[in-house]
Amino acid sequence: MPSSDVVAEVSPASKPPSNWRRRIIWSLGTSLAVLLLAGVFHRPLLRGVARFWQVDWTAGSADAIVVSTGASPEHFQQALSWWREGRAPRLVLTRSETKPTDRAGITVSMVEQRRHQLDVAGVPEAARVFIGKELRLLSQELPVVCAWAGSNGVKRILVPTEPFATRRVNWLARRVLSPAGIEATVVPVATPHYSVSEWWRSKEGLLAMENEWALMAYYWWNH
């Protein structure tokens, strides 16, 4: 056999690709295909993420509605409208921390502002309860709620909260309240700052989602 024929048989051009080369090509191809699919279907995917993350419960009847005095106006109004609808006979407000300007007498504290709003809304004294003092974290609020509920025979509470915070609030509420036999229904309340169905389109939505992922990890680690 002439030697030129043997060289032709094993020349690099005709050599089959090595295993590594084949693996790299396959991995790159698959990654590209996944990226392409993620790009084409990003809307349903991101909407799915929001749907998965948000605990989407609806408000039923309960023994009390719990909201922080420092909660957003939307949460407070939602709590008030549930009370008006007769979903619960009592409105429980956890006292949030006072701000430096409140302490200096420059501004009116949230506790006083909420008290005034309840007066205007016609919520009688017997139907409202203020509990705790200087509460700044959810992990400080829930034990206070638990103690109050335990001493008042409350078994079911309604908690209005931000859509993406529902998973975290629900998770911690179960850990703190369930052992005492208290059932918390955490209900998402729409926020004017972003739309849940298109959260990735606004800075506020992106920040809310990212912050909740980080906080959930923090809660898993610390509680």
Binding site: V10, K99, T101, T107, S139, Y218
Partner: protein, 223 residues
Amino acid sequence: MSIPPTQPPSREDSALRLARWFKWLGIATFMMCLLLAIAWQTRERWLAAMVHAWVVNDSVEPADAVMVLGGGAQFRSFEAVRFHRVGLAGKVLFPHIKPGADEPDATTSRETDLIDRVLAHERVPAEAREQIGRNVTSTRDEVLALRAWADGVQARVIIVPTDPFHTRRLKALIHSIFAGSATRVLVTVVDPPGYRWQEWWRDEHGFLSFQNELLKSVQNAFK
């Protein structure tokens, strides 16, 4: 020259290669576990070191003015008052922040108004208070307004107190906007309410603020 055809690997070769692969996998796993154990044991030290490396805290000296950045009426304005009281800053500057969507008829935002009220309440004389800029919406706008003011009065030194994790990004922004200026801008730390920033990982607000600043810095790096 002819190249001998490649032989398929024998069973012994394959077993030897697999054993070698497992040996390296074992070493890598052991090293990873060792590193994780060391990281866990020394976590307080490197988490504290990380934040100390991140935070910029210039030493304070007598200045022409102290600037209260927007969003900090509750604590930055009180710190500015302190600097003014001890005679470190003759003037207290604050920005004219664009009114938000929820205050359509306002000419000044609630935040600007609150800073002014804090300064007035803390007896900073009217001639020592100065509003700068017009309808600012970001830290960048505020620093641009500060540069314009500094150029106008030929200021020598200005103090800007802010929350610890924000200091690095603010310093970088000041560095670029005050390029070529004779004015020195000192960035100092204001302790955030409720937690010690040096132990940021112990509090969820500290954890969230630090990770948000890291993200914003990464985002700015790609702008």
